[in-house]
């Protein structure tokens, strides 16, 4: 099928391994995303707080800098558990905003233009498709949550003396684990909503409100039934609960929790349930052909 010959020749060359093909979707999605100026701006803005957090750590560990800034109280700059909780809270919010914009871009276009049958008519399953799209969000949201958080942790560990790293090493687990569940839940919700509504702008709006409307319903449920269990529908609250438990935080920085009323296992169960529900929606909506019932 050489261009100059204008005739068809079958392909006889080598093929890439089947397991790696999902990454083609990821590669193309990233290439498309970085063409959009709005995305680049959003990504940069998501990473700006990291510079401030890093500067803070630098000043906190540098007496000369503190003197130059005429800061008398050394206690003003302390990098402890609460500091990393603040970093996590800021960066997970940035991840949420980034996800609201990027998620629908990934999947809605394929569905509105009927491209799904083209993917699925190849040796490529729906699981590969979801994995390819999920990898985009996974990598992107990791880049603004646990990766910079661990870099800041490493920076603090490098600058601090008196064995700070050994007394705080346990924080690596909640940083990674809490980020992982948050990223997984955000990614799956945005893919499921995009597959459901198909229109990009509408999907962005629905993802946004999908965090607020259930929370509102939960509050109504609490008020009517005089219970605390309606709070389970507040996903952000559930995440904060997991974060607080993970970081052993009881100072009220993450909000006042009724520790005895909502067990942290319930919070984990809710977030995992949301992930499973999103997978069910994806399974129902990502079809090569839609079946009209009746």
């Amino acid at each position: 099928m050489a261009v100059y010959k204008r005739r068809y020749n079958p392909y006889t060359g080598s093929l890439t391994p089947e397991w790696s093909r999902f990454f083609v979707l990821t590669r193309y999605a990233f290439a498309d995303l970085f063409k959009a100026r709005f995305f680049v701006v959003l990504l940069v803005l998501s990473l700006v707080p990291i510079l401030f957090f890093a500067s803070y750590i630098f000043i906190a560990n540098n007496k000369t800098a503190q003197l130059l800034m005429q800061l008398r109280s050394a206690g003003l700059f302390s990098v402890e558990t609460q500091y990393f909780i603040v970093i996590m809270m800021v960066q997970t919010k940035a991840a949420f905003l980034l996800n609201c914009w990027v998620g629908p871009v990934l999947i809605a276009g394929d569905l509105t233009n009927g491209a799904v049958p083209l993917f699925l008519s190849r040796p490529f399953t729906r699981a590969d498709y979801v994995l390819g799209k999920l990898a985009v969000l996974g990598l992107l949201l990791s880049a603004v949550t646990w990766v910079p958080c661990l870099l800041l942790f490493s920076l603090q560990a490098g600058l601090a003396t008196d064995g700070w790293i050994w007394s705080h090493l346990w924080m690596v687990v909640p940083i990674v684990l809490c980020s992982a569940i948050w990223i997984l839940m955000l990614s799956l919700i945005s893919l499921a909503v995009s597959a459901w509504v198909k229109l990009r702008i509408v999907a962005t709006g629905v993802i946004f409100i999908s965090f607020f409307i259930p929370a509102g319903l939960g509050e109504m449920f609490n008020a009517i039934m005089s219970t605390r269990w309606g709070i389970l529908l507040n996903f952000s609250y559930m995440f904060r609960l997991i974060l607080a438990k993970g970081f052993r935080e009881r100072s009220g920085l993450l909000g006042s929790f009724g520790w005895d009323e909502i067990p942290v296992a319930a919070a984990w169960a809710v977030l995992i349930l949301v992930c499973l529900l999103s997978l069910v929606i994806l399974n129902a909506r990502l079809r090569a052909r839609e079946t009209v019932r009746g």
Partner: protein
Amino acid sequence: MMNPTIELTGLEVQLGGRTILRGLTGVLNSRAIGLLGPNGAGKSTLINTLLGFHSPSKGNARVLGLDSLTNGKALRSLVGYMPENDAFISKMSGVRFVRYMAEISGLPPAQAMERAHEAFVYVGLGEARYRPVGTYSLGMKQLAKFAQAIAHGPKVLILDEPTNGMDPPARKRLIELIREIREASDICLLLSSHLLRDVEETCDEVLILRNGQIASICNLVEERRANRKFLELETIGAEATFTSTLEGLGCECAVFTNGRIKVVMPDSVEIREVFRVAADKGVQIRRMNHRRDSLEDIFLNAMEQTGAADGRI
């Protein structure tokens, strides 16, 4: 022994509570198979089942010996599919879209890029390859879909209504490409169309569906061979002696008004014998036709028949 191109064994498919394909059973061995039938006959459902998009509720379907359900992935690795409906990524340039699809089929990036350019030039969209697919006309989108179906060099090409929305020159060009691909390689072709002419020009065998059942399976090569022996003549001159001489050679003749004669020749008689007899008897042959509307006849016959058993009308 070679596997049949398509083998259907009691294939039944239910969608949304309705039975769409009703126990289809048949073997198609030709390399180019046409799929015909009126709207709602089950053509697209059959294609989707062969691709593994729908699971059979009973029976099975095989393509080149691979079961559509149990060997779906292996089967799809052989397939190039051009769907009937719009299927593209609107903001991608044509060549990038085809390259993307080729890479998903397993071609390494460099080869995918090369094949995408080649496919685009081959289908005649070379000049438009850097334009976003969303800006293409309907005919161009059809060609872009065709390019993505052939770029990775499939062994089975499944085309669902490929000439939909194309003007006559573009349609002719696409049919020529399909024929060229069929002849240039050992590719198997399954073409679904409403247009009998598309199927007649590209296929060797047809499967006609009606109400989810097989109305007819017909080998067009054999039909064409048989039709070559059926002539329609318009003559001027001594008809009686001309026809009696032809009958003497073993032909069957039917004489109509205005010198029109229908002749069925035995295998031993060639057309040049007819010319020789006409010259000997001083008969002018003003027009000679082979019977050309065979597929239309087959199709109409299949549509007129009723009743069914074992998925066959």
